[in-house]
């Protein structure tokens, strides 16, 4: 069974990958060079990390992963 935390951890890679691709695309087709936009990667990585920390921890054996039983 999956917890929200596991989900956030799993989608962290794909989201970082999308961000990375988008920054290169903006470099080639948009107004901002990658040398100026790269900190966005750090911000996104940090935000996802934060999200993982505050997401409900895994509760093995519990029925519903979301919300959990209080």
């Amino acid at each position: 069974m999956n917890s929200v935390r596991a989900l956030v951890r799993a989608i962290r890679g794909p989201i970082l990958l999308i961000t990375l691709g988008s920054l290169f695309a903006v470099d080639y087709f948009g107004p901002y060079p990658f040398s100026r936009t790269w900190p966005i990667l750090l911000i996104v990585a940090g935000a996802l990390w934060l999200l993982e920390r505050i997401a409900p921890a895994s509760d093995p054996g519990a029925g519903s992963p979301v919300g959990g039983a209080v």
């Binding site: 989900l7 799993a10 794909p14 990958l17 988008s22």
Partner: protein, 485 residues
């Protein structure tokens, strides 16, 4: 139980398709596409994996510990580095013909094999039209007092093995065919079935009266001693023309050098990206269109000369003298106007001995004018930023209005012309020189920022060398530099 991702197989399919298309359609700019659009592969990869994970989560399947594994990240870093490298290489392309860039392994591993093209002749009518189709390689055409076309030359075939080269040589014979009054000389390079790279250098001797048309993609052209018109279209060629008694039309996407001497008819040059142009003794109208990064020289043009580039427009009615132009300057002497010049690139302009009036608009750059002795014609010269220096013949009659919005004024005519400053304490604040000397044409000089100097031309002496910039005046000094003559 965890099912693997779909991204890996899809990526492999994409790469396979790319290589397949690039080998089936070598004309498509696939390298260019890959260099520019590779980031979208990353985005697509990320989106697919993201959707997969959401789907797995919704189905309650176990999720991977990391959405993108360390191994995949290594691949991504590699793709980023290769992609950036490709992008830089593609944008600058200093080595456009390198084999591994265009995907032609013959260029890297192949060797050149030379073949002589035995001389062929074909009878030609007096007013023959000759069409030369040669994709790659140079063409040299000389007009002669003959009634036949003679073709010879040399073929260089780059191939992996000698047998391949021999085969390609047989597949691509140089042919002369005649249809009516048109004679076609074809090198048939497109007939080769392998990936050998062929370059054919042709030497043609044709009847002097013939008209010539050359079509090619890459190769230098040398044409001389013809009475008929010449027409050239090529993707990349340097062209030399000498002694053409009729008109010339050149349509080149890229050219290192275009040199023409003694052309009696109209001369028309269109170039996407050119470098140097030298035209000397042109009897007809000259039209030069395109963007040029080198030196342009026009000398002795008997009729109208029109030059047009994205940055500069120039029109001269006749050019007994010469004009020299490069990226930062334009100088001309002995021009018959009205001369019209507009430039929105920073450019210093120096014109001597021009008649029939001048219209000159510069975005940035200094203007130095020394009109012909007499009679003076209307002049309207403006620059947004730059000095204006006008030297007038001693006996000239004119009506002057010279204005600078920020800059000093130098008036050698003294009190005949009125010098007015916006601010008598600070001459840098601009002002104007105006007034009339006899009854004459209007001379209007305007600069938004820069010094204006009105001088008396002391005769046939060559123009003074560029003067060093004047030191700034001490504030409060209000003397006006006036030299009485």
């Amino acid at each position: 139980m965890r099912r693997g991702s779909l991204v890996g197989p899809l990526l492999v399919i994409l790469i396979g398709v790319w290589f397949l298309v690039s080998s089936l359609r070598p004309d498509l700019p696939l390298f260019d596409l890959a260099a520019r659009f590779w980031p979208f592969v990353l985005i697509g990869w990320g989106v697919l994996r993201f959707a997969e994970i959401l789907l797995w989560a919704a189905q309650g399947r176990p999720l991977p510990r990391a959405g993108v594994s360390p191994g995949e990240w290594t691949l991504i870093v590699f793709i980023c580095m290769m992609g950036s490298l490709l992008y830089v290489v593609n944008r600058h392309r200093p080595w456009q013909n390198w084999g591994f860039i265009t995907g032609n392994r013959v260029e890297i591993f192949g060797r050149p094999y030379d073949f002589a093209i035995p001389e062929q002749t074909a009878p030609a009518p007096k007013a023959a039209r000759i069409l030369v189709e040669n994709l790659r390689g140079g063409v040299r055409i000389v007009g002669a007092d003959a009634q036949e076309i003679r073709v010879s030359g040399r073929k260089t075939i780059r191939a992996l093995q000698e047998s391949d080269a021999n085969n390609a040589h047989k597949q691509t014979p140089v042919e002369i065919s005649t249809q009516g009054d048109q004679t076609v000389v074809r090198t048939n390079q497109d007939r080769v079935t392998g990936e050998e790279r062929i370059s054919t250098d042709l030497e043609l001797t044709v009847p002097r009266t013939a008209s010539v048309e050359i079509r090619g993609r890459n190769g230098d052209l040398d044409i001389s001693d013809l009475n008929g018109p010449v027409e050239v279209s090529s993707d990349s060629a340097s062209v030399r023309l000498q002694n053409i008694a009729s008109s010339v039309r050149l349509d080149l996407r890229k050219s290192e050098l275009v040199r023409a001497g003694s052309v009696k008819g109209n001369f028309e040059l269109q170039s996407g990206r050119g470098r140097d142009v030298e035209l000397d003794t042109i009897g007809g109208e000259v039209t030069v269109d395109g963007s040029y990064s080198g030196d342009l020289q026009f000398r002795d043009c008997a009729k109208q000369l029109k030059f047009q580039s994205p940055q500069t427009d120039l029109k001269v009615e006749k050019l007994p003298g010469q004009i020299h132009m490069d990226l930062g300057s334009l100088s001309g002497s002995n021009l018959v106007g009205p001369v019209r010049l507009t430039s929105n690139r920073a450019r210093d302009v120096q014109l001597e001995q021009f008649t029939q009036g001048l219209e000159l608009y510069l975005d940035r750059g200094d203007i130095t004018l020394r009109p012909a002795q007499m009679p003076l014609a209307k002049i309207d010269a403006r620059t947004r930023s730059g000095q204006i220096d006008l030297a007038l013949p001693g006996s000239a009659k004119f009506e002057l209005k010279a204005t600078t919005s920020r800059g000093d004024l130098n008036n050698e005519y003294g009190t005949v012309l009125k010098t007015e400053y916006e601010n008598d304490r600070r001459h840098e604040a601009g002002g104007s020189i105006s007034g009339s000397v006899g009854e004459g044409p209007a001379l209007t000089l305007t600069t938004d920022r820069g010094t204006i100097t009105i001088r008396k031309d002391t005769g046939a002496a060559p123009p003074a060398p560029p003067r060093p910039p004047k030191p700034p005046k001490a504030p409060g000094v209000t003397s006006i530099e006036i030299e009485q003559h």
